[in-house]
């Protein structure tokens, strides 16, 4: 009996000690960076190319270049998108993360709220050449308004309407639609004989959010009010979500099967000539890898109610893109800033964005003729004139999950023939909103 009691005491003591050390693990991160190991950096890159290996091949020579310039060796890990946010959360919790990392720009405000990322105040921006070098809309999507950004824009993207020229010609349509009414009218001509007008990724929560956000802007709503409170059930937001799902439910220009797409199957359908249009960000390299020739497809601005994209109710895209951030507890803070400076230098910006088919958020780098190609010009104009950042609120990540799931469930209704009504949309959005407020 005594033996058991002793064992129990030892067990409990060990457990408590371990709990305390476990708790203590995170505390070191508050101190800010140091320069204890000035010769190395760890960098988590996001997957921008066709696959992880391709990214490694593209980035490694650049990192060698950086090592030659500064003597700092960069250890690269390319993290797939499916793991990236979880990995960042784990790194934030444990304090054991990389020095520099890429983040999806929509996560900026959420990650900013954790306090784990280095704030880019004027002094830090000065170290990389100043805030003025960057396009405004890109900096606006790097953190909550009124606070120093939590990251620096690295690659910028926007949505465009990609269309299959041959299918348009076959249906007797002479150009891409500029308004939603035109898109639906064209769509009805295109959707026949097992072919469909528009593709969608119904099971991809982020993509659902991107689409209904732009439509929400056109209906004059933003999903969050000025104070950062969710307003999912306003008339404008309900109308936006309904309009998007109605392309399948009412207009029947999206194939029902798209409701379960989540692995870019809609791009495959497009490349195979099964669908005539997709709304996507920088899809050129994917089309090429699926065997499409550049002359097979065209790119146009995403339709807006008036036909002329602009600010306010004529916004036709979110500001999409990748930001580069520094973990505050890095042991090489100077080196990390040097690396961010290197990655956002004009030369690297031109080279990397050209390779990845994105737009440089650095204004000076945009002058490169490579970014004047017709499809990239559409993206560039959209970013400059008619793109708005997703709500920069700490709950952005929850918003994507809650509303993204609501839209996913509505796709499932539409696909199975369950009527999608204003009430049913409102009910789903109401549920999503209640989940946000607990």
């Amino acid at each position: 009996m005594r033996g058991i009691r002793a064992a129990a005491v030892v067990t409990l003591a060990t457990a408590l000690a371990a709990t305390l050390t476990g708790c203590g693990g995170g505390t070191s991160t508050d101190e800010g960076g140091s320069n204890d190991s000035p010769k190395t950096l760890t960098y988590w890159a996001s997957n921008q190319g066709p696959n992880i290996e391709a990214d490694k091949k593209i980035l490694t020579p650049e990192l060698k270049k950086f090592e030659k310039e500064t003597g700092i060796k960069v250890k690269l890990e390319v993290v797939p998108w499916s793991d990236l946010l979880t990995r960042i959360l784990a790194a934030t919790t444990s304090g054991q993360g990389p020095d520099v990392l890429n983040i999806g720009n929509t996560w900026s405000a959420s990650l900013q709220a954790t306090g784990a990322l280095l704030p880019w105040d004027d002094k830090n921006f000065e170290a990389i050449g100043g805030r003025d070098r960057f396009v405004d809309s890109a900096v606006a999507s790097a953190g909550a308004e009124g606070q120093p950004p939590a990251a620096v824009p690295l690659y910028s993207l926007a949505y465009a309407l990609y269309y299959n020229k041959q299918m348009f010609a076959d249906a007797g349509i002479d150009g891409p639609p500029a308004t939603w009414d035109e898109l639906v009218a064209d769509g009805k001509k295109l959707s026949k004989d097992g072919k469909w007008a528009l593709g969608a990724e119904g099971g991809n929560l982020s993509n659902n959010i991107h689409q209904v956000f732009a439509l929400g802007q056109q209906h004059g709503d933003n999903f969050f009010d000025e104070s950062g409170k969710p307003t999912f059930t306003t008339d404008g937001n309900v109308a936006a979500v309904k309009q998007y799902v109605d392309f399948m439910a009412k207009d029947k220009i999206i194939a029902p099967g798209n409701a379960e797409y989540a692995q870019n199957q809609s791009l495959t359908d497009f490349a195979k000539g099964k669908t005539a249009m997709v709304l996507w960000q920088a899809a050129a390299s994917t089309f090429a890898s699926q065997g499409m020739k550049p002359e097979d497809w065209g790119a146009a601005p995403v339709p807006v109610p008036s036909g002329a994209p602009g600010a306010g109710a004529q916004v036709n895209s979110m500001v999409a893109g990748i930001n580069i951030a520094v973990f505050k507890n890095t042991k090489n803070i100077e080196g990390a800033k040097k690396f961010v400076k290197f990655m956002t230098s004009d030369g690297e910006q031109k080279l990397l964005n050209k390779t990845y088919g994105s737009i440089p958020p650095v204004a000076a780098a945009q002058s490169d003729p490579a970014f004047a190609a017709p499809d990239l010009k559409v993206l560039r104009d959209t970013l400059a004139n008619s793109a708005a950042p997703l709500p920069q609120v700490p709950e952005e990540s929850q918003f994507e999950t809650a509303v993204g799931t609501a839209v996913k469930d509505l796709w499932a209704d539409a696909a199975s023939g369950t009527p999608v009504t204003t009430e049913s949309v409102k009910k789903r959005l109401d549920k999503a909103q209640q989940q946000m407020q607990q």
């Binding site: 033996g3 708790c23 954790t114 409701a259």
Partner: protein, 336 residues
């Protein structure tokens, strides 16, 4: 270690005895003996206990601590500073009128139904296959190997294959059911909507019945053949033999098997996660994936932990009741 520790104890014990009465002299030396004899098993268990602590108990304790704190994104960077919230997280989880509690309760019901069906079918298939493969015939070894394949395959690879097969437009299931057999008017969705529950059960049963088969097959080997021979001489048919000999003899195996299957199935995370991604359809919203979503996707680790602790308590309770009930039953039948 025992030999170096015990002699001084014995010495001092005997030294103290010199001045005392003889009655204590006999009792005292027996304690070190007991420690010496009883210590070795504990010593041998020590590495296992330490690892168990490290791998299981410590994370569990940390999880329980987390469930009493407001561990949202604002505090994960420095979670020693997360405010204590006493039972607030639990109140949110069990407030079944509010959306979060309601969703958790729904998820709990779905999981219970899923577990009962999956364990039932797995056991039934395992039992049927084990009984059929009892007789020696050509190809028995091959069949056994084939039956065990799902158990040997890595979960991720297996389930992702199922996910492809369940796709509406290009999946094999619809190709067979709709295109070839014409059983449905329209190709059905299996990964979204209500059918997702069926898809989930199919994959889970496929994945876990070989384990039931393996355990029951091993159990069947231990039943003496003479019992069956005697029974058939007495005129018992196959069903009577199964009911009167096979099932009672398998009772101890079944007791453990059903419990293990229950715990595995109830906690199954891999199958729904690989099949549906991070947001499962309502009809297939198993509790493990629900908790994952409540913590990782919405960054609220406090509420997620509280839900996990509730799940742990529920499973402990079920396990305890089950073990008490089945053991009592066994004693009763043993006395007959």
């Amino acid at each position: 270690m025992t030999s170096t520790v015990t002699p001084p104890v014995r010495k001092s014990g005997s030294g103290a005895d010199q001045g005392d009465g003889g009655a204590r002299r006999r009792r005292l030396p027996r304690i070190p003996d007991r420690i010496r004899q009883g210590g070795l098993p504990y010593l041998l268990l020590l590495p296992a206990v330490l690892l168990e602590l490290l791998v299981h108990i410590v994370p569990m304790v940390i999880g329980i601590v987390m469930s009493f704190r407001e561990l949202t994104q604002l505090y994960i960077n420095n979670w020693g500073n997360a405010p204590w919230r006493a039972f607030d997280n639990y109140k949110i989880a069990v407030d079944f009128d509010a959306p979060l509690g309601e969703a958790l309760l729904h998820s709990f019901y779905v999981t219970c139904l899923f577990t009962v069906i999956t364990v039932g079918l797995s056991w039934l298939f395992g039992m049927a296959a084990a009984v059929m493969l009892q007789e020696n015939f050509r190809g028995r070894g091959l069949l056994r190997a084939v039956f065990l394949t799902p158990y040997a395959l890595p979960v991720y690879a297996a389930v992702i294959t199922w996910a492809f097969m369940f796709q509406r437009d290009n999946g094999m299931i619809n190709h067979v059911l709709h295109d070839q057999l014409g059983l449905t008017d329209e190709p059905s969705f299996w990964l979204i909507g209500d059918n997702s529950f069926i898809a989930l059960v199919v994959v889970a049963v496929w994945k876990s019945w070989p384990f039931a088969f393996l355990m029951l097959m091993a159990g069947l080997q231990n039943i003496p053949r003479e019992l069956y021979e005697a029974a058939s001489i007495d005129g018992a048919g196959i069903w009577q033999q199964i009911r009167k000999i096979t099932l009672p003899s398998l009772r101890p195996v079944n007791q453990v098997l059903v419990l293990v299957l229950f715990l595995w199935t109830f906690n199954d995370f891999n199958t729904p996660y690989v099949l549906f991604g991070e947001s499962a359809p309502e009809a297939a919203d198993l509790i493990s994936i629900h908790i994952y979503q409540s913590s990782f996707v919405t960054w609220n680790f406090g509420t997620g932990s509280a839900m996990s602790v509730l799940l742990l308590l529920f499973l402990l309770l079920v396990t305890a009741v089950y073990l008490v009930a089945t053991s009592r039953g066994r004693k009763g039948s043993g006395a007959e």
